[in-house]
Symmetry: C2
Subunit: 177 residues, 2 copies
């Protein structure tokens, strides 16, 4: 992708200081998603990156991961599988509890969502410390798939989340801060 296009996306992300808590510079992607050209560009560039990797399922993390995740499933012509907060998925699930800065959180995936021949592209909007992604990867691994790739729209390089995922997982992010 040309530097110009990357910069268009990066420049359109809105920075919100002290959200959701003091000291955090929140990267608000809604200002990008509402622009048709930028929305298409994100999907096209992600899909191009994964075009020849044999992806069979997009696994996306609730809630913001669902937006581009859904579009990617359509563009790549593959199935879509949600990873959700506890109590949201109605059938039998695998469950993963993980640590946050303060307290813990839990993610779930349906036990019948994936199978051993699936090549998964895990997608979320943002890579920070990598805790949420690691929990989601653990759920996908419990499902016993063939291979896992991981993608983000935005990566916060200074939090070094990439180092917790890669290796063994190839990580691709469109925009870096």
């Amino acid at each position: 992708m040309s530097d110009f296009l990357i910069h268009s996306i990066k420049d359109s992300i809105r920075n919100i200081p002290d959200f959701p808590v003091k000291g955090v510079q929140f990267k608000d992607i809604t200002t990008v998603l509402k622009m048709p050209e930028l929305f298409s560009m994100i999907v096209d560039q992600m899909a191009a990156h994964y075009a020849n990797m044999g992806i069979t399922k997009i696994v996306a993390i609730e809630s913001r991961g669902f937006i581009i995740g859904g579009a990617l499933a359509y563009k790549l012509g593959v199935g879509f599988v949600p990873v959700r907060k506890p109590g949201k998925l109605p059938a039998e699930t695998y469950t993963k509890k993980y640590d946050l800065e303060y307290g813990t959180d839990t993610l779930e995936i349906h036990r019948d969502a994936l199978h051993d021949q699936d090549v998964v592209l895990l997608h979320d909007d943002l890579l920070a410390t990598g805790g949420t992604s690691l929990a989601a990867i653990d759920l996908v691994k419990q499902s016993g798939v063939k291979k896992i790739f991981v993608s983000f729209i935005v990566e916060l390089d200074f939090l070094k989340g990439r180092n917790r995922l890669c290796p063994p997982y190839e990580v691709f992010s469109l925009v870096h801060f």
Copy 2:
């Protein structure tokens, strides 16, 4: 769309009795979304229905509405705007409180997400009583747009939600129970 395709989607929706509470027959669409052909079909049929209506923005309701909503924004080449639970959107919002069977709930939209020339396709996965959709419509109306259409994957006809929305809003659902 051929009856055969509609039936493929309908037959692939999983019914979960007594979820999330006793007496409710929950319609689980995850069994549809994970199948590439059915996922594509949903997006293609929705997009075909709205192809010539001048849609400029998809407004989708958290969280399940984001999945097909994101794919629709891509397919139609328009922007994407999320309607979210309170405290999730970081900039200035319009807020709408609405009644549930027990208690109340609240939805929000960014004040700068839409403008007066927008033609909005509001999307959610399921139409039940219509309460959530009405609240989201109210938020879109506060933004002062030109026109609003409303779409769902699944409509529960016996709850008559359609009668609360239409007229004045045209409602399109792929599958009816």
